[in-house]
Amino acid sequence: MRRPRPGAGSRVMRCGVVSFPGSLDDADTVHALTDVLGFEGVPLWHKDRDLHGVDWILLPGGFSYGDYLRSGALARFAPVMDTVIEFARSGGLVMGLCNGFQVLCEAGLLPGALVRNRSMMFVCDAVHLRVERNDTPFTGACEPGERLVLPIKHGEGCYVADDATLRRIEENGQVVVRYVDANGETTDAANPNGSLNNIAGVVNDAGNVFGMMPHAEHACEGLSGLRDGAKFFRSVDSWLKNGGRA
């Protein structure tokens, strides 16, 4: 894991938020980080090759490049992604939400892929999630097995992977959040998009790259009626301030 720079403990955590053409949650993410949570969201442009010294990176939701070809497929080749991939490979923390999750899968930074919802319907709803691990940089502020409620809004959020990959990520504990019902059970009815094993979010093998379909950035203040999303950002802040510990 990349160590925060000296003095990181005493200053405001800076998160680079990438805007691709067609991103639509980038401004909301910067707002949540900066205005609501008191961190600093730093807008990064898709043509940037410089990360402007940010501590970690977030790829936001939206429809980058119109979702042409496949969701996230074209964004993966934006100039900024070379730098993001290098940052991730050197241990930097990277989170992708919704379209950002799709981009991370297309870039090969996360296992699996996201395809059309099994229902063929775009879903816009609040869903229950169960936190499977709280020893990641992204979930340290959660209790083990904690249930959260977050919004989703996507047409292509069905997580798929081949049998060997699915087995590997389950055995490695790379599934971080799952869709559950109000009782915390992974039922079919609680699965909004047909994802295998009710998977809502995964980390890479090294644990420094995380993607999920639900929108943490839309659940940080009273406006949306949901606040659990803030836990993901506070987790990253604590991780960085503690020098790479949950």
């Binding site: 892929a113 059309r116 229902s119 069905c158 081949d162």
Partner: protein, 83 residues
């Protein structure tokens, strides 16, 4: 040359669009139809000799046109019709 690229869902990978299309065919009365799979057909004009073009199109498929996690691809080359 002209390249015709066919990108299809891998066997075993869920294809919700194919399933929905299959159900629509059934509701239209087309019986005995199953395993409908939806893919993508891409054409392009590309300069170069056949060996070179084959290598380049294969590279394009692996890097961008198909996602190896969920899709297979194959392609055909033909002389461009306008030549």
């Amino acid at each position: 040359m002209q390249a015709k690229v066919y990108v299809t869902p891998k066997a075993g990978v869920l294809d919700p669009a194919g399933k929905a299309t299959e159900r629509a065919l059934h509701s239209l009365g087309f019986v005995g139809v199953h395993d409908v799979r939806l893919g993508r057909y891409i054409t392009m004009e590309i300069d170069g000799d056949p060996a070179d073009v084959t290598a380049r199109v294969d590279d394009m498929c692996r890097q961008l046109l198909a996602n190896g996690v969920i899709e297979d691809y194959r392609f055909e080359l033909a002389e461009s019709s306008e030549q």
